[in-house]
């Protein structure tokens, strides 16, 4: 790893730590947190500070330090966490997130920092940071506490010291012999042991040291050097600088100082084995937990594991359950290979059926188990790319906070299903549309405080973001408990913009769907927050690009829900293989509600060439897929054809006319956009079992493409 990689891995870790931090705040907001939540948040900020220090990111260190100090106050019970403080912490968390991004991208530091630091200082009070550490992050690389070593001036002549070890020195893993060896490395060095106080063997206490050593160094060894060697034991020994010896040092030989450690009789060096035995009255040792107590920490961990929220911590923490980091390219290559596997599997299935082998034949049985294995591999590989929506939800929490601050509306943000896993690319590309929808919910969805009070609602509005797996797709809902869509206004505006005519009769869902039309959102509506020139039509087209659909549901006075339905993966799809006008095409199963064999009596002409089919008391517009793509003229008789009932984004049903249903199977999605740009009505292509290429159609797009003709028909559905 070179420096850049270290940096990169630091920032990756920061992401995880920030997630853990935001998590902690979420839990605190629900009042369901325990002590460990606070510890986890503290640790997250603390680790960011530690890592940032290693990379000299001073802005980040300074702020993290302030932040951490305040968190520590709460952690240690010196400060009470009230709503105001939690709010400040959240802002600090956001700021820390920004600082991390700024540090990563080399951007200018975040402007909000000084203000937040001032707020933190206020919370910490006058004694604030002085209590722990200096204001600026100038902690030294290695703190040397020379203390009572009497370090004052650099000494150029040799030093003589009397060294006596206190019991604690051994217990804490230091040894005189090791210290002496380190002294030896400084320059010439001599040591003499005074054994006069060593008791008889019977009275020997191995934990205490009865020997005093006289240490003498040559003149090139300074007190600084000595202080460094004894840095860790300064409180566990007495080290007295006796006198400064003369440079000629005649006493050395006189007092018979040995210059070899081996001369210290081995038996006088305390053996560590004895020392590790707890001795009564030997201070620190006695205070250590006995072997029997060792279960304690384990037990407490098990306990905390039972707290449901701990799961999140384990996930947020790199330490969790053994993970490896894999290059995304490798995974994508694997996904592509699995795609090929699916295609080959389909081809093989075709060959086997061409052979006319019975389903009990060895080859069929073998193929079936191969197929199920391949299915498992596919699922496994897909799941590698899947990741929980949680980090994205956390970003949204921030959007809510910002939107709440900008609009002055009090908002409670609730999330459900944050561990729902979605393809990584899908998650990434959902960020923008969701951001927009969340802002919308706060800005347009929720009423102002007064209006809420008038409606008898809590002054605090609620925005809910939820994710769930539903029949092979991911459904993400953004809802608010606001006043619902003001349909009169929407309608008036649509008329004003020429999207509908004043005489059009529209059902409430139809009016709601107008919001998605291009050109609906207007400059007049632009507020500081959600009006950024991006309308819901852009949101919808983004979601379409992901193979998803978005729909809207609103109850006056109750609120509005936007529902996004997405495929689990962008790589394969469950499709219905159909024939139309001699072409083989694939329709995504997710779009198909049901299939019908029409009776001619159920088909009605409605003038201007349009047709509807009556199904369960509903008149459903009919669209011929063959005619849409220009394969043929609209068939006069629909009897021999098959109708696929689909539901479009605007909750309307349409019937697509095809000739025949061949099969239902998984197909690998091969994008066409790189080579052909976007083709109306076509989502992508795939390779079928017989090696032929088939186009995957986009039913919503077909519906919209033939929309002009259908606007008149819309009313019919409702009229019946």
């Amino acid at each position: 790893m070179d420096k850049d990689e270290f940096r990169a891995s630091f920032f990756e870790e920061c992401e995880e730590l920030l997630e853990a931090m935001h998590d902690g705040f979420d839990q605190m907001a629900t009042q369901k947190h325990d002590e460990e939540t606070m510890h986890a948040v503290f640790r997250a900020v603390h680790s960011i500070k530690g890592g940032a220090g290693a990379f000299g990111l001073n802005e980040l260190v300074a702020f993290a330090h302030h932040f951490e100090t305040a968190l520590d106050r709460v952690r240690s019970g010196k400060l009470e966490l009230d709503a105001g403080l939690l709010d400040l912490f959240r802002h600090c968390g956001d700021n820390l997130t920004d600082l991390v991004s700024a540090a990563r991208d080399g951007d200018t530091p975040v402007s909000g920092t000084p203000a937040l630091r001032a707020k933190l200082d206020k919370v910490l009070g006058a004694d604030g940071l002085a209590e722990s550490e200096p204001d600026e992050p100038d902690f030294e690389p290695v703190t040397l506490d020379f203390g009572d070593l009497g370090l004052s001036t650099e000494n150029t002549s040799g030093l003589t010291m009397l060294f006596h070890a206190e019991p604690g020195l051994f217990v804490c893993g230091s040894e005189p012999a090791v210290l002496f060896r380190a002294m030896e490395k400084l320059g010439s060095f001599a040591v003499e042991a005074d054994l006069s106080k060593v008791p008889s063997f019977d009275d020997l206490d191995p934990a205490s040291c009865a020997i005093t050593w006289t240490l003498t160094t040559s003149d090139d060894v300074s007190r600084d050097d000595v202080a460094m060697v004894f840095e860790f034991v300064e409180d566990q020994c007495t080290l007295d600088f006796v006198s400064i010896s003369n440079t000629d040092g005649p006493e050395l030989s006189d007092i018979g100082i040995s210059d070899d450690l081996a001369d210290i009789p081995e038996e006088f060096l305390p053996s560590a084995a004895d020392l590790s035995e707890p001795h009564a009255g030997s201070g620190p040792v006695a205070a250590m937990p006995g072997l029997d107590d060792q279960n304690e920490p384990t037990a407490s961990v098990q306990e905390s594991d039972q707290v449901p929220n701990k799961e999140s911590e384990a996930k947020g923490n790199a330490g969790g359950g053994g993970t490896i980091r894999v290059d995304l390219e490798k995974i994508d290559k694997l996904i592509n290979l699995v795609g090929e596997l699916v295609i080959k599997e389909a081809m093989l299935a075709q060959s086997i059926s061409d052979l006319g082998a019975s389903s009990e034949s060895d080859i069929s049985v073998g193929f079936e188990s191969l197929k199920s294995l391949a299915g498992e591999i596919q699922e496994g590989v897909m799941s590698i790319r899947a990741q929980p929506v949680k980090p994205m939800f956390q970003r949204m929490a921030r959007i809510v906070r910002e939107a709440s601050a900008a609009t002055g509306k009090k908002v409670r943000f609730v999330t459900h299903g944050e561990y729902t896993e979605v393809d990584k690319t899908v998650v990434e590309r959902l960020v923008d549309p969701l951001t927009h929808m969340i802002r919308n919910a706060v800005d347009h969805g929720l009423e102002k405080g007064a209006a809420r009070a008038a409606a008898g609602k809590l002054p605090e509005g609620t925005v809910t973001l939820s994710a769930a797996h539903r029949s092979g797709r991911v459904v993400i809902d953004v809802s608010d408990d606001g006043g619902g869509i003001n349909r009169e206004r929407v309608r008036a505006k649509a008329v004003e913009r020429g999207l509908i005519s004043a005489s059009d009769t529209l059902s409430p869902p139809e009016i709601d769907s107008l919001l998605f039309l291009p050109g609906f959102s207007s400059a007049e509506e632009v507020s500081e927050l959600s009006g950024r020139g991006v309308g819901l039509d852009v949101v919808r087209s983004e979601i379409h690009k992901l193979g998803g659909r978005v729909s809207i549901h609103s109850d006056p006075g109750e609120g509005t829900t936007f529902s996004i339905s997405l495929p689990l993966t962008l790589a394969v799809l469950e499709g219905m293989v159909i024939n139309v006008a001699g072409q083989t095409m694939v329709v995504p199963i997710s779009a198909i509600q049901e299939t019908l064999q029409p009776r001619s009596t159920a088909i009605h002409d409605i003038g201007s060439g349009g047709r509807v089919v009556r199904n369960r008391d509903l008149l459903i517009p009919v669209i011929d897929v063959g005619a849409f793509f220009g394969f043929r003229a609209e068939p006069v008789d629909l009897n021999p054809h098959v109708l696929l009932l689909i539901e479009s984004d605007d909750n309307h049903r349409y019937a697509l006319v095809v000739d025949e249903i061949q099969d239902q199977r998984q197909v690998v999605i091969k994008s066409l956009e790189t080579n052909y740009h976007q083709v109306d009505g076509i989502a992508a292509a795939t390779i079928l079992g017989d090696g032929r290429i088939a186009l995957i159609i986009d039913p919503d797009n077909i519906v919209r493409g033939s929309g002009a003709k259908l606007t008149g028909d819309l009313n019919l559905q409702m009229a019946v």
Binding site: S47, E133, P289, G319
Partner: protein
């Protein structure tokens, strides 16, 4: 064989940095992610020197040191605390737990190596 070092830190960044610094210095490095993991590796590898962080999930540095010191060993393994903390009461607590030394993050590579060298019983002592 160089000295066997066990480095315990919950931060991946720190572990990476420690691993690099210590490996370059010629030590054999084992890494652990928290006190519990550290204890497991402490038991399994019998290191010459342990470097541990204080603030860690599951089992913190103090807990690790206390538990490590309660192990019966034929020698007391030096344990250096490497942390951003520098409060005297924290140091005292580490000392009471049995820590050999205290080094403040961010660490200076040379000084860290030198600190390890001077607390470690040299290789020949062990055989």
């Amino acid at each position: 064989m160089g000295l066997q070092i066990l480095a315990i830190d919950d931060s991946r960044t720190m572990r990476n940095l420690l691993n690099a610094t210590l490996s370059v210095a010629g030590f054999d490095v084992d890494l652990a992610e928290d006190g519990e993991d550290g204890l497991r590796k402490f038991d399994a590898t019998d290191p010459d020197v342990v470097i541990t962080d204080i603030n860690m999930p599951r089992l913190d540095g103090f807990g690790f040191i206390e538990a490590a010191r309660a192990r019966k060993r034929d020698r007391v393994v030096p344990i250096l605390v490497l942390t951003t903390e520098s409060a005297p009461e924290m140091k005292a607590r580490a000392r009471n737990s049995g820590a050999t030394g205290w080094i403040v993050k961010p660490f200076d590579e040379e000084k860290l190596v030198w600190a390890i060298q001077r607390v470690a019983a040299s290789g020949e002592n062990r055989q």
